[in-house]
Each structure stands twice: as structure tokens, then as C-alpha cells.
């Protein structure tokens, strides 16, 4: 009996830690619609600053709690700096670009923290007065767990009072409900956003600081917590603080009892919960349908036009360049070009559902990695020749996308994106856990091309033909009636409905097509590298694709190619130097600020007069 009570309380204390990180994120998203990837970094910085302060201040309960509050305030101020210097300049750009900018902040904070706080893991200090444990019928629970269980509802109550009983809270709720209306009524949006960002970052820092006695500070904290925090926010319903609390409790308790029954479940449990909740409740447990923007999305995206004569000539020139390039460059440049081509195709497929389809995917690596694994498994177990594997990989990946898409197209916006993420994580965990079949994280080795294609140069041409072919086919789809309908679905669901087009079915098929082409890219990838590991299906890979597309710009068909070329090349060149993440983060931020439409979008708009059909 004591055992179950203690397990219940342990789950609750984990839930409290989760809630503290998630509530700030939910608050920021609710008001500004920013998907703030830097939230995990703020959490990490909170832990580091609190550790340093508590270490320096004289020992005692007073300095412990003061240290935590000071650290949280410092993180709140860092949040304000980021908001004022960076995010404020980006509110007029599409929300996804802000996500990209916050990723730049993640990279910068990562390297700065290493430089400031050192490479070694830090074990957090115990809370003075709460360093013992309590005996509950023979089982022990740390006193600090009880403290956490009390802190979280206290914060929840505090936030509730703040949001319902103060004028500031009313404005925040108004902005969450309908941003444009509150703007029209004369509410100072700039100040409101800054203050909300302060509070959200403060809470992130508080979360990091308060967990010190349960853990500590290390450099992996930021990325480890951010996915979890997003899951909690989405399961609860974005912008809903009580929802986040409910979701944290559910996930905390399921984790606590899950390890008793099925110890391996910790990998995936959270994402399973998210998938189930989103399928049943498309806006999370306590979330509300997002108010439609009054202006509609028209004008956000420039109209895509079929290529003009001049553009076709430019494209042809590019093809010729690709064909003759091997005569001028070394073997390694070929390898890099192959990689760029593969990523271009994967990005083009992502762009296909993101741009014309209007559906953001956070889980595109599921298809890329899926295609790679299908090809690798076929070769490994059935000795399938490369040609057949490359044919079957996109086909089977298309089926996978068809299954996942069936669930996803029922949702919209960030919820849709998070459901794709959930499915990608589920696929990843299957590959990761099913070691007997997939090799687990030891991967599958020795998957090399057929003999005729084993020369680098031959494989280069093969990759170029398939990738450029795939890109052109996808481009062609955009200008078929199907593609036009898809864009209509994106621009006005209401009008599409009223003229009798089945919106979901079009989006569903678009999903499958995108999946299939990503699968082709994945299939080629495994033959170019010779091995495949679950990393290629994991969250970072999905976000790499997203960033490549954003870097290139979502307004131009050339964007995915430009983006993946720039991304791959930047990574390869910059990773030679120390603190390269810092430099890369800065470059990303500069690019987002200077090219708010992406590289290709910005170049394209300047050259548009030249390329416009007469």
C-alpha cells in the first residue's frame, strides 16, 4: 500500500516539474503564437544560474530560495532581451520563421553556456530543510518531492489569479482569444508581448532552478526538455494553463506506473499519449479552436506561377551545370553534392505539403528515415537489388504516410504538426527498440549500391537523375488541377467546402505523395552512406528539414534546393571551428532578419521582374 502511495506521489512530483516548464511555453504561445524552441534553453540557463548563485551565497534556506528566484528573474530578463532585440523584428513574418530564429537562439545559448559554465555536469544542491525523506508505511519519499507537489498548484493558482483578476491578465486573455481585435481596440501589443515573454521565460528559469535538488545542470537539458514541454502544452491545449497542469499530471503518473509494468515504455509513452489525445480531441484536452485570423491568409504567400521561358532557360543551365560539375570538382565535393541533392528532394517533399498544402510537419524524418530503413531492411534480409529497393522504398513509405496522414489531416496548425511529430517518434521508437529486427541503435551496416553504381561518379548521376526528377515531378504536381485544388484548400477551407471539394482527401493524398518522395530520398541516402541508424528518424532530423525549407523560403519553388544547399554547406564548413554552434546560430538569426522570405524568396522577388512571364 505504502508503495503505491509513494509511486503516486513520485508521479505527481514529476508532473510538477513538467508543469513548471510547460506553463511558460503555453502562455507565450497563447498570446504571441510563437513556437519558442529556446524555452528549453531558458530552462537550462535557469538551472545553471541558480546553481551558481546558491553556490556563492551563504549556506541556508533563505539563500537557496532567494537564489532560485534571482535565477528565474535573470532568465526572465534574458527572455526580454531576446524578445526586444530579435523576435520583435519578426512579428510580421510567418510564425515558422520565428521558430527558426528561436532555434538560432538555442544554438547560441548552447555554446555560451558551455563557455560560461564549463563542460562538466553539475549535481544540484539539496534544498536546506528538505534534504531528508518521509516514511510512508515502509516506503520512503524525499521531502523535496512534497515541496514540488505543493509548488506547482501554487504557481497554477497564482497564474489563474493573475490572468483573471488583474487588468494585465484580462489583456493577455483578450490577446490569446483574438489578437487582432485587441490590437484594434488600442491595446499596446509591443508592451504586452514583452511582458508575457518575461513571465514565460521567468517560469522556464524557475522550472530549471526548482528541479536542482532533483537533478542538476548539464548541457543536454535544453533539448531533452523541449520536446517534453511541447507535448505537455499540446496535450493540455495550447494556451491553456489548467490544460497544461492536467496534461502534466497524466503524463507524470503514466510514466511512474508505466515503468512498473513495461520498463522500456519511457521512450515513447509520452508521444503515445499525445497521439491518442489529439486523435480524440483535436485541440488538446482543454484547448479551444483557434480564432480565425480576420484578414485570412490571403497575401501571405505569393502566387506560384508556372515557369516562364527565361526561368526554364535558367533551370536548364542549372541542369547542365549539375551534369558537367563532376569534371571540375574532387570526390568529396561529389559526396557533398549528393547529400545536398538528397536533402533537396526531401525538403521539396516537405515544402509540397507545407507551401501549397498549408500543413506543417514536424515529423518528416519518419518518411525519410522510413524510406531509408525500408531499403536497408530489404537489402539486409532479402538481398533485394538496389534498383528494386529504390522502387519499393518510396512505395512503402507512401503507404506509411497514407496511414499517418489519415489521422493528421483531421487536425490543423500546430496540432497537426505535433501529431506528425508524435507519429514520427512512435516510428522511431519502434525502430530503436526492435533491436532483433532493425538492429536498434546499432543500425544496419553495409548497405552499398549495386556494382554498376558503386563508383562515386555513377552514383552521383543516379542521385541527380532521381532527385532532380523527383523535384520536377513534385513541381509538376503543383501545377496540375490537384495542385491548384490543394492550394485552394490551404487558402480558404470554407469556399472549398462550399463548392464541394473534399478538402481532407486532397490533403491526405498530398501527405502520401510527400511521404513517398521523402522515402525515395531516404532510400538513396542509405546507399550513399552505407549504413542507417535511428537518428535519421529522430526529431532533430525532422527539424533539419524544416529549417532547410525555411532557410530557402516557402514562397519559391527553388527554396528547398537553395535551403538544403546552404544548410548542408554551412554545417560542413562551420563545424571545423570551436564554438561553431554559436556562429551558426548567429548566421541563422542574421539570415532570418535579413531575408524574411528565405534566401530563394528574397533573391526571387528581386529578380521577379526578369523572370515574370510576359
Amino acid at each position: 500500500m505504502g508503495f503505491y502511495i509513494v509511486q503516486l506521489l513520485t508521479g505527481l512530483s514529476d508532473a510538477s516539474a513538467l508543469f513548471l516548464v510547460a506553463c511558460g511555453l503555453s502562455l507565450i504561445f497563447g498570446v504571441s503564437r510563437i513556437v519558442n524552441l529556446a524555452h528549453g534553453s531558458f530552462y537550462m540557463v535557469g538551472a545553471y544560474i541558480a546553481y551558481t548563485l546558491i553556490d556563492r551565497l551563504p549556506q541556508g534556506p533563505f539563500s537557496f530560495w532567494v537564489g532560485i528566484l534571482l535565477a528565474a528573474t535573470a532568465v526572465g530578463l534574458i527572455g526580454v532581451i531576446v524578445e526586444v532585440l530579435l523576435l520583435r523584428r519578426l512579428y510580421h513574418t510567418p510564425e515558422l520563421f520565428i521558430l527558426f530564429a528561436t532555434f538560432g537562439v538555442v544554438l547560441i545559448i548552447q555554446d555560451l553556456s558551455r563557455w560560461l559554465f564549463g563542460a562538466e555536469d553539475l549535481l544540484g544542491q539539496q534544498a536546506p530543510g528538505f534534504s531528508g525523506s518521509i516514511d510512508i508505511m515502509g516506503s520512503y519519499i524525499p521531502q523535496y518531492d512534497i515541496v514540488l507537489i505543493i509548488i506547482a498548484p501554487a504557481i497554477l493558482a497564482g497564474l489563474w489569479l493573475l490572468l483573471t483578476k488583474t487588468r494585465w491578465g484580462i489583456l493577455v486573455r483578450a490577446a490569446t482569444e483574438d489578437r487582432e481585435m485587441s490590437d484594434a481596440l488600442g491595446v499596446n501589443q509591443t508592451r504586452l508581448f514583452t511582458s508575457v515573454f518575461f513571465l514565460g521565460s521567468f517560469l522556464a528559469g524557475l522550472g530549471g532552478a526548482v528541479q536542482l535538488p532533483k537533478g542538476g545542470a548539464d548541457l543536454l537539458m535544453d533539448l531533452n526538455i523541449i520536446a517534453t514541454a511541447f507535448v505537455v502544452v499540446v496535450v493540455g491545449g495550447m494556451g491553456s494553463i489548467p490544460g497544461a497542469f492536467l496534461a502534466a499530471v497524466i503524463i507524470g503518473e503514466l510514466n511512474a506506473f508505466g515503468v512498473l509494468v513495461f520498463p522500456e515504455s519511457t521512450l515513447v509513452l509520452m508521444f503515445l499519449v499525445m497521439a491518442v489525445v489529439l486523435i480524440i480531441r483535436p485541440y488538446g484536452l482543454l484547448g479551444k479552436k483557434e480564432a480565425p485570423e480576420h484578414g485570412g491568409t490571403a497575401g501571405d504567400e505569393s502566387v506560384l506561377r508556372p515557369a516562364s521561358g527565361k526561368l526554364k532557360i535558367a533551370g536548364l543551365a542549372l541542369l547542365v551545370l549539375v551534369a558537367v560539375l563532376p569534371a571540375f570538382v574532387g570526390t568529396f565535393q561529389l559526396v557533398l553534392l549528393i547529400e545536398i541533392a538528397l536533402f533537396s528532394l526531401a525538403c521539396m517533399s516537405l515544402y509540397f505539403i507545407m507551401g501549397p498544402g498549408g500543413m506543417v510537419s514536424f515529423g518528416h524524418a519518419a518518411y525519410f528515415g522510413g524510406g531509408a530503413y525500408i531499403a536497408a531492411l530489404l537489402v539486409h534480409y532479402l538481398q533485394t537489388p538496389m534498383e528494386l529497393a529504390l522502387f519499393l522504398a518510396p512505395l512503402l513509405t507512401g503507404f506509411l504516410a497514407l496511414i499517418i496522414g489519415w489521422f493528421c489531416v483531421r487536425l490543423t496548425g500546430v496540432y497537426l504538426a505535433m501529431l506528425t511529430l508524435a507519429f514520427a517518434q512512435i516510428c522511431w521508437s519502434i525502430v530503436f527498440q526492435w533491436g532483433e529486427f532493425t538492429g536498434g541503435d546499432d543500425g544496419i551496416l553495409s548497405i552499398w549500391p549495386s556494382d554498376w553504381a558503386s563508383e562515386k561518379i555513377v552514383f552521383y548521376y543516379l542521385t541527380m537523375i532521381l532527385c532532380l526528377g523527383g523535384i520536377l515531378v513534385l513541381r509538376h504536381f503543383i501545377f496540375t488541377p490537384f495542385g491548384y485544388t490543394l492550394r485552394a484548400c490551404r487558402d480558404s477551407a470554407l469556399r472549398v467546402d462550399s463548392i464541394g471539394i473534399n478538402l481532407q482527401r486532397h490533403q491526405w493524398f498530398a501527405f502520401a505523395i510527400a511521404g513517398a518522395f521523402a522515402g525515395l530520398a531516404g532510400g538513396l541516402y542509405v546507399f550513399s552512406k552505407g549504413s542507417i541508424f535511428p537518428d535519421e528518424m529522430a526529431i532533430p532530423r525532422s527539424f533539419d528539414f524544416l529549417f532547410m525549407v525555411l532557410l530557402g523560403g516557402v514562397e519559391s519553388l527553388f527554396g528547398p534546393i537553395a535551403g538544403s544547399a546552404a544548410f548542408t554547406w554551412l554545417h560542413d564548413t562551420i563545424s571545423r571551428i570551436n564554438l561553431w554552434q554559436l556562429v551558426l546560430g548567429c548566421i541563422f538569426i542574421v539570415l532570418v532578419v535579413v531575408f524574411p522570405m528565405g534566401i530563394a524568396g528574397s533573391i526571387g522577388s528581386r529578380l521577379s521582374r526578369f523572370f515574370r512571364p510576359r
Partner: protein, 402 residues
Amino acid sequence: MIVKRTLVTVLMVSFALTLGLVPAAPAADTIKIGEINTYSKLTNFTFPYRNGWQLALAEINAAGGVNGKQLEVISRDDAGKPGTAVTIAEELVTKDRVALLMGSFFSHVGLAMTDFAKRNKVLYVAAEPLSDALVWAKGNRYTFRLRPSTYMQAAMLAAKAAKNPAKRWATIAPNYAYGKDAVKSFKKVLKALRPDVEFVAEQWPALFKINAGSEIQALAAAKPEAVYNVTFGGDLAKFVREGTLRGFFKDVFMVSLLTGEPEYIDPLKGEAPEGWLVTGYPWYDIKTAAHDKFLAAYQKKYNDYPRTGSVVGYNTMMAVAEMLKKAGTTDTEKMVDTMEGLTYDSPTGPVHFRKIDHQSTMGAYVGYTALKDGKGVMVDWNYADGKDFLPSDDEVRKLRAK
């Protein structure tokens, strides 16, 4: 507008330049070595590792290099991704023209490199990756490994653990290949030595995402007499703190892989557990002339004490230099032939690269943890020589059979 135009131009020009770069001809008086490791993650291991090989490199070059040639190491970061590591390996080999590759931390990155080495016939000296598959199931002619593998370290612990009367065992390990290998090997060796033990529970927290409280509870529910732990880093710290608070370690005999390494026990400070049977590196207590020399040189250069990673980095570099000296050439086949059966004296004792599976016999220190001056240390330790904890040659041949 001007900013944009300049930026576009700069981007395009530099892009074209990097793509068009023709591989530079290697200078005649240096030997280039490609080194790849995860320097942007797990820095608590990889930074001391880098210090280690840089110290060795400085010593080698100060002593006149190898056969009159200076060594040059081109070091790159793989960010912990196997795909990136393979691309960089390709670049180092085809563009920078390195003679051989060394490094790696993660097992899966190491395995990707192993496969690359086999395919491209490039010598690869794995420094840290512990996976058994690296030299056995996926082993090949071109891959060598320095560090004692998961199997060897688990076997060292199991040999000592077998002397404890405990019969009911539980295990906790991070849920990925290294954790799984470590548990499997330990069970196998312990069962062989002590057929009467039974394993009553297994816990598999996700790597670096442990919910320590719940895991401790789950272990306690099985009422084990002894627990074998494989968690490390931040997971270990949380595990130790929760276990102590919940009174879990009081009556349980703890056996723990890698926990005695300074990388992992030092962050625990005064909360370091006592009486755990661990593998590690008691640098403060090793009194051999070779180690004293290494320790003095390391402390002089970095004003810091060496970690396990430092020794691994130092030994890898030294082994490579020794091999190059003996081979007298950078021809891959000749280097591989020299590497097979190479023996050299490291600060931690003689290291021998076995011809049969290309595993080195570098050992590990096995002992018990204790608290001294508010710090975790290892006591009653002995150096377990790697050669005593490898399976029989027949078994190895079977494992390596293709």
C-alpha cells in the same frame, strides 16, 4: 538592400569557392591523421579526451615526430551523428588526404565508421566506442579498438561480483545498445560463475531522461539483494540521489559500470556512494613511473587532473604514433599489418592490439567506492588487464565469423 546584396554575393562566392577547392597536395614532411569525435555534445568526456591526444601529439612532435616527420591531426566534430561522421570521414580521406582515422565516442558512430573503413580500406583506430559489435560481429580488417569493450568491463565486474553471496539480482541500464550489451554480458558472465543467481527485475530508463524516483521504486518492488547499474552522467547523479533519499542502497550490494571514472563520480562530490563495486580510473592513487610521468605532464600542461577520456586520448595517439614508427610507411595495408600484434607501454600498463580481433588489451581499474575529504574515490582497487577478460579464441573466431 546593400546589406542583402553583399550578403548574397558573399554567400555565393564562398559557396563556389568551397565547392571548387582542389584537394591540396600533402606536404612531404608531415603525416596527417584524421580525428573525429563528438565535441559539441558530451563535452565532459570529449574535452579531456582532446586534451589527452593533444598532450601526446605535443610530446611526439617535440621528440622529433615519427621517422623524421611531424604528425598533424585534423580534428573534426561529428555532433554525435553517424551520417555526419561518415561525411567528414570521406572529406578527411579524399580531400585532406589523411593517412588514417581515429576517434569516436558513441557506439553507433563508431559502427558507422567501422563500416566506412571496411568499404574504403582506410585504417580506423576507434578510441572510445564500447560496442562489442565493433570488433566482433561487425569487426573487419581495417578497424582496431583501444578501450576495453562493454563485454570486458562487464566481465571484470562480474568476476568480482560473483564473490558476493547475493543471489537475487536486478539491473538498471539506459535503454540503448550500450546499456543492453552491458546487461547481457554481465548476466552471461555472472551466470557462468554463479549458476545459483537469479535476475528478478530489469529497468530501462531512456538515456539522459531518467525518472529516478519511479525507477528506484520499481527496483525496490522486486526486493533484490544486489543491483547492477549501467546508468552514467546526469542519469547516475539522479539515480544516486533518489536512491540515497529513499534508503534504497542501505541493504543492497551495488555493482556499477564506469561509475569510478572521474567524469562520473566527481560531479557527485560528497554524495558519492560508498561501497559500490565499480570500474573507473583512480588517477590519484596509481603509483607507477609511467603514470607519474603522464600525470605530471598533463597537470603541467592543463593545470587540471586527467579523466578517463584523457588516458584514452593519450593512449590512442601514442598507439598510432608507435604503429607509424614501426610501419615506416602510410600504406594502409602495411599499417594494418603493423597494428596487428602491436604492443606498446602506456601510462596504464602495456597495451597489445590482438591480431585475432583487433581489440587492445588495455584494461580498467576495478575497486570499491568510498568517500575521502568530501569526494568520491576508489579504494581496494586493482588493475584488471584486458587480456584476462576476453572470451576464448575459438569463441572470438565464431563471433567474428562472417
